[in-house]
């Protein structure tokens, strides 16, 4: 089960208790038996979140420097596609049609992907 992110910048790698409580309340409401579950593992880390809540898979102004980041709002499901298009980007030096909209320069052009309020993921 994955909880939400803190609203503020942080390197503490610990979740806010109210965020954890919110997550557990939802889980127990859906599956009351989860209230009796034993905790095996927890993880609190740093997630990289962009200002349009979408990843950056892109060349950069620096030659041979490419970025694949900003997946903090739920990236692992996109990894196969991201890896494939990122490999294309590195091999050819230019973005594939599928990751072209996820370029770094969208923060200059204004062609953002999903604004926070419109994104189909939990924030």
């Amino acid at each position: 089960m994955g909880a939400g992110i803190d609203s503020y910048n942080g390197y503490g790698q610990r979740g806010g208790f109210h965020v954890i409580e919110h997550q557990m309340a939802a889980a127990v409401e859906l599956f009351p038996i989860f209230a009796r579950a034993h905790l095996l593992r927890t993880w609190g880390g740093i997630v990289d979140v962009t200002l349009d809540a979408s990843p950056i898979v892109s060349p950069t102004p620096v030659d041979n420097l490419f970025v694949n980041c900003g997946w903090g709002t739920g990236g692992f499901k996109g990894t196969p596609g991201a890896g494939w298009t990122f490999a294309h980007t590195i091999a050819t030096g230019a973005a594939h049609a599928l990751n072209a909209p996820f370029a770094l320069d969208r923060f200059v052009s204004g062609a953002l992907i999903d604004e926070h309020g419109a994104a189909g993921v939990a924030h």
Partner: protein, 100 residues
Amino acid sequence: MILIECPNCGPRDETEYAYGGEAHVPYPADPAALSDEEWGRYLFYRQNPKGLFAERWVHSAGCRKWFNVIRDTASYRIETVYRLTDPRPDLTRPDHGVNS
């Protein structure tokens, strides 16, 4: 859970507040004169220090007033809280966080 001291209402739980990101990002004096790069930098580019950071919070569930906080982004310790009309406090640690 961070305990934040609202300048108007006193110490309250973090859940009463909403976060406003980096403080002291001035609106451009002449926005129409900016290039797309400069406008994008104003809109989207922010400091993200590990350490002291000047940031805005609003007491949504209280007085609904905005104010500034200097907080350590690693320990979450709040160094000071001040009103928007106050100058940024000098914490004599100029190497951390807050940009010019």
